[in-house]
Subunit: 429 residues, 2 copies
Amino acid sequence: MKRSQMEYVAGGGLIDRRSLLVGGIAFLAASSIKPVAASVNEGVKRIGDDFPVWSRTLGRQGTTYGQPSIHEKHLKLKLQLPSAPENSGTTGWLTPLEKLHGIITPNGLHFGSHHFGIPDIDPDKHELLIHGLVEKPLKFTMERLLRYPMISKIRFIECAGNTAFNALSPLSHDGSCQDLHGLISCSEWVGIQASLLLNETGLGKKAKWVIVEGADGGSHSRSIPLSKLLDDAIIAFYQNGERLRAEQGYPMRLLLPGWEGNTSIKYVHRLEVVDAPAYTGHDSGVYTQHLSNGQIEGFSFYMDVKSVITHPSGKQILEEQGFYEITGLAWSGYGKISKVEVSADDGKTWAPAQLHGPIIEKALTRFSIPWHWDGKSTVLLSRATDAHGRMQPGRKEWKQRYASPTFNHYNAIQSWDISSNGEVENVYV
Amino acid sequence: MKRSQMEYVAGGGLIDRRSLLVGGIAFLAASSIKPVAASVNEGVKRIGDDFPVWSRTLGRQGTTYGQPSIHEKHLKLKLQLPSAPENSGTTGWLTPLEKLHGIITPNGLHFGSHHFGIPDIDPDKHELLIHGLVEKPLKFTMERLLRYPMISKIRFIECAGNTAFNALSPLSHDGSCQDLHGLISCSEWVGIQASLLLNETGLGKKAKWVIVEGADGGSHSRSIPLSKLLDDAIIAFYQNGERLRAEQGYPMRLLLPGWEGNTSIKYVHRLEVVDAPAYTGHDSGVYTQHLSNGQIEGFSFYMDVKSVITHPSGKQILEEQGFYEITGLAWSGYGKISKVEVSADDGKTWAPAQLHGPIIEKALTRFSIPWHWDGKSTVLLSRATDAHGRMQPGRKEWKQRYASPTFNHYNAIQSWDISSNGEVENVYV
């Protein structure tokens, strides 16, 4: 490869992706990916005992519900706090973002965060009650609910504590992308617009908030502004085509697009329309933030604009210098992602990454940019901007706003240090 | 409900969906869905032994790879030919379309069609060879391939024989939507553009076709026009986020968007660039059609515009007259769906259904329309049109083109008969 054939768009080896289209054979083949030259006869040797067993024998018939390949057993959710006792009820299951691609999270690997464990609810014994400041309190059985018109939306869910719950601890400086950012996932959700059901009960004149309660053992509940429920809230029954998993709220959950995950109440069985927030256990406490000006910030629902490079990322190793694709995910609770910039020289210069469509509001957006690593140590960064002009802050900027015990709503730029031996490591700049 | 409040858009009870937004409480609640009136105190009785066990106890901790709810065991793929011997190698696993929603098919329920069973290929021993009329034959290991830039596309795959393989047989007149149409699914696929790899090898001047071969026991192979591989073909590694399932081609498959499924060669390990088609076993035989004019139609790659109502559909039962949502799926191998019309009076009148976005080319598109069933027998139909103006034919029209042994590429309008007792049944009109 003649390096001069590649058009660089920023420092540290970031390449204009159009180079991929015009570079031809000289570009990638020589740029350290190095496919092996094959002999002309190679394709003809197609029969023989040296062939692998799967090319000589009949395969399996299959099963009624498919599972991942036996060669992908390493692809697993990971407990955020593995030392917590199994009966603590509070668990965080982290999605292995760096091993996934695209924007859809497969149902088996959706992150989970539970305060009271995962119940197995019999749908025939589950009802939704809507009462309080309504014209006519109503109960809905599952059978009745499934008769209502449904909508489909691809949306992310992110735990309020994603990233900083780990990243603020010096112990996890060397975490993987899963370790640091794994409390976010993205699915196609299908369900009834909450506004349609509230239209059924009618609303009292003083109605302003709704206490939403789950049927899990601890009755996880949050006070939600009525305006959100009338805007884009969904009572969801399906996730990526099939009915919700128990981990995700079977038989139904609330989905509040773009808002902190704990407000998308799983196992939802009660909406109480009220005139003021109830300050439930989770309206206070863990889902509030300490600000550096001494204030407590509560009801801070929006998950702000954020991005993370999933490859290369923490604990991965670049085996050699040469071509790599830098790729990652960006999202904003406020709407669509409009731009992701990447730096391969520790923030000195930035280049726009390619955004892979469809670019959907309040969904993950996949980005990528080609990169030629010269084998020297450097730092990779990504910085997302959403359609409202909100841009990811730096870590220092974020820390100026919040006081030290706070770990929710951390959306600062992630820095991945590349050492000259190819090791990738989380670093705080 | 005052029926006069609903605006009908066609015969047989099809409702303008805007009625849902303006109708308020009078509309759905009274329209036979009938949620139960709740007492004002109901929400307060939140503690007690009459509460279900899951609301009084701590739930499970979870697992490293999630599975469907224990209450959804009935959600299964179904063998197309259950009587075929297990070692026949040829299997068709049908997706339960009528039990799914949205457009994404969960990985565990993606349809499968295999001629030589499902191999479990060790990715470390799998290579891709590109040879023939190329400037430089090359072999790619999995490790090398995973270094290349990737793209993500939500695309359907449909078996050439979907629907008519069953629907032409009088034996399956009473099939479910799964039985009749289950050889189609839709996923987010991620992989390398095939054009990028062909750019690596370079192409000889006479290059016009490519023989694509899988590593399965019977070396399933097809001759594919080079132009398709240079257009939108993908060597796919990921499906809905995670690596492909063995059923879907692990460790990699070709994806030819919009073309009959058997051309998206699973377990792909060889691309031989040639100047003319090879007439492989599957270029001929089962993937050709007998035309009524006596000709044989081969290399008929495009899956034409098609739709099916998934609810209400075959073998389902409408328990009572009143409100239902008619919903289904539409797709076209040529591009985007532009319109789906629904008839609730056996084709006398038609109304446009709502298309749920994102509307993506060569992907499934979800449609729906509200419907008030008056309890009388009728026939429901859907008719899709794509962005190229191609419209689904009627059954008679389709049969005029093809001679009787042919079952591939059946895309005629599906008719679901609703009897006055609420039974839904496939019917040929």
